[in-house]
């Protein structure tokens, strides 16, 4: 009994260590070709310095951004400057994310702990991505001026989308990612249209830009970790392949100008390892909650809204709308 407890404590400590050291490149045993490939592409982005132009095609819409990424072994910093939409620059240093909006002089500072979780996820026993996706080699292709290896991740059921990923041959850096629907049609694509590996990016300069919030209104969105049970909710029948990875309570801002009304919203997050979805639950308000049903943003992300008793549920995720509907239907209020 004592030995069991000691073993449990050791493995818990190990897991805790994994989550607390996000930038440490872990030499995990990759037991399947899929897992070893996932580790390779994940680590590649942490070990190279590069600049380039990134393009996202979602539905019929195109967006692009200039990217600069630097790393020095201990930390990684990147800057994303979109060339479309609202002028802004998003900086990331490990899991600290700062977005600056120069026109409105707003700075949003977030600590995205989930960014560091990935290698640890592979270690946990119920995180088997291979249960949900077939891994397939697609062969070599040339893109953005580099030789790339293609990999197909075909969904094993209709609850999720498929992916095609091309990573640079030498470094493993992902150059192009496509999301495919059930009929094999590309519904979303994101790729480097041009890429300079080992570009001379000055990390110190990026960090300085990121922390220079003088003259900006700083906003720090806050979240409180909760359990769905404590919020009064449960999922009667889980959707196959998805597991919950977090539940938070966040204040609802009625508008940018008004202070938060004091009411809170629950965000319950699920993932199948590649796709994620969030169930947002808030009190029903007839003035703002008017349209039930599915909303197609044109790309891989779908939104489904529904009234459940005195509550309003909004499900958001990179999954088919039918999956979101299944989650919403399974959501039940504790008696």
């Amino acid at each position: 009994m004592i030995r069991m407890v000691q073993a449990l404590r050791r493995s818990l400590l190990a897991l805790l260590a994994l989550t607390l050291v996000p930038s440490f490149a872990l030499a995990l045993e990759a037991d399947t070709p899929l897992n070893s490939w996932l580790l390779k592409v994940h680590n590649a982005s942490k070990q190279r310095t590069y600049t380039g132009t990134f393009v996202v095609s979602s539905g019929g819409n195109l967006a692009s951004a200039r990217i600069a990424h630097a790393c020095d072994g201990a930390q990684q910093v990147e800057r994303v400057e979109p060339l479309t939409g609202v002028p802004r620059a998003t900086y990331r240093r490990n899991d600290r994310v700062v977005t600056l909006y120069p026109t409105t002089k707003v700075a949003v500072i977030e600590n995205r702990e989930s960014l560091g979780l990935f290698p640890g996820l592979l270690k946990s026993t119920d995180a088997n991505i291979a249960d949900n996706y077939h891994f397939k080699d697609l062969g070599a292709e040339r893109m953005a001026g580099f030789d790339a290896d293609g990999v197909g991740l075909a969904p094993k059921d209709a609850w999720r989308y498929g992916y095609r990923v091309w990573s640079e041959k030498r470094t493993g850096l992902v150059i192009q990612l496509q999301t495919l629907d059930a009929s094999g049609r590309v519904i979303e694509q994101s790729a480097f249209s041009e890429l300079q590996l080992d570009a001379p990016v000055k990390m110190a300069q990026l960090v300085q830009q990121m922390e220079n919030t003088k003259g900006y209104n700083v906003s720090r969105p806050t979240m409180r970790a909760v359990t769905p049970q404590s919020m009064g909710w449960r999922l009667t029948i889980p959707v196959s392949g998805f597991r919950q990875v977090g539940c938070f309570s966040r204040p609802i801002a009625k508008s940018d100008k008004q202070a938060a009304s004091g009411s809170a919203m629950m965000q319950w997050i699920f993932t199948d390892g590649l796709a994620t979805l969030s169930l947002f639950v808030e009190s029903f308000d007839v003035s703002s909650h008017q349209r039930e049903g599915a909303i197609d943003t044109g790309g891989a992300t779908h939104i489904v809204t529904r009234r459940v008793g005195d509550w309003w549920v909004t499900a958001v995720g990179e999954v088919p709308a039918s999956t979101l509907r299944a989650f919403v239907a399974a959501l039940e209020r504790n008696k």
């Binding site: 592409v41 942490k46 990134f54 996202v56 979602s58 539905g59 819409n61 967006a63 692009s64 951004a65 990217i67 990424h69 990147e78 994303v80 979109p82 939409g85 609202v86 802004r88 990331r92 994310v97 977030e110 995205r112 989930s114 960014l115 979780l117 990935f118 996820l121 592979l122 209709a158 609850w159 990923v165 850096l173 992902v174 994101s190 969105p221 196959s240 977090g246 966040r250 801002a253 508008s255 965000q267 997050i269 390892g273 590649l274 947002f280 349209r291 039930e292 049903g293 599915a294 909303i295 197609d296 044109g298 992300t301 779908h302 939104i303 958001v316 709308a321 999956t323 509907r325 299944a326």
Partner: protein, 203 residues
């Protein structure tokens, strides 16, 4: 003598149908070149007429496509009008004779155009506003049949032509969802870069 016409629209449609002659025609053309509203009306009438006469856009499911296209064209048109107008003016018959124009039953065409627009708008409104209820829930044990989500095609109209969702509440939720997207194994670098690049929100 230069007659002064009460509204830009009236003289625009008169000009289009070749009903104006001589100095009246010239005055109308001059007004057209200066008045942005008149130019807008000019283009709108031509567009409606052309589309209604086109075989491609038969009534029915195509109407929604047409409306989206028309909407985006119109939203761009106010700025482009000044550049286009000289071409249109050059097409007028030079001899000033009263020609029977293609839409000689002008009034009837305008009524038909307005009626078709109203009908299509009403159809669209019904589909968008009707809640998605009564749809049988999928049994959990069985993966859903792969069928196109027809309801979502219609609901896509709520997304503006440039892809931005106009509902600020939904924008906030999208943002909150992406903030926690690190759980995807593909988050680095693609997922994070994608979310930072394609920000379908307006702040």
């Amino acid at each position: 003598m230069t007659p002064t016409l009460p509204t830009p629209d009236d003289h625009v449609s008169a000009l289009m149908d070749g009903e104006l002659q001589g100095s009246a025609q010239q005055a109308s053309v001059e007004t057209l070149l200066k008045d942005a509203r008149a130019q807008e009306a000019w283009h709108r009438y031509h567009l409606i007429g052309d589309i209604l006469r086109s075989d491609e856009l038969a009534a029915g499911a195509r109407d929604l496509q047409f409306l989206t296209k028309l909407e985006s064209r119109l939203s761009q048109e106010t700025m482009a009008a000044r550049v286009e107008m000289p071409e249109r003016v050059a097409v007028l018959p030079p001899d000033g004779k009263h020609h029977t124009s293609a839409n000689s039953d002008r009034f009837r065409w305008r009524m038909a155009a307005g009626g078709a627009l109203t009908l299509a708008l009403a159809v669209m409104a019904v589909f968008v506003l009707e809640p998605n209820m009564g749809r049988a829930d999928i049994p959990m044990a069985v993966a859903p049949q792969i069928m196109p989500d027809t309801q979502t095609d219609v609901a896509a109209i709520s997304v503006a032509p440039d892809g931005m969702i106009r509902d600020p509440r939904l924008d906030q939720l999208l943002s909150a969802h992406q903030q926690l997207g690190g759980h995807s194994a593909l988050q680095m670098p693609s997922g994070f870069l994608r979310n930072a690049t394609y920000d379908g929100k307006g702040r």
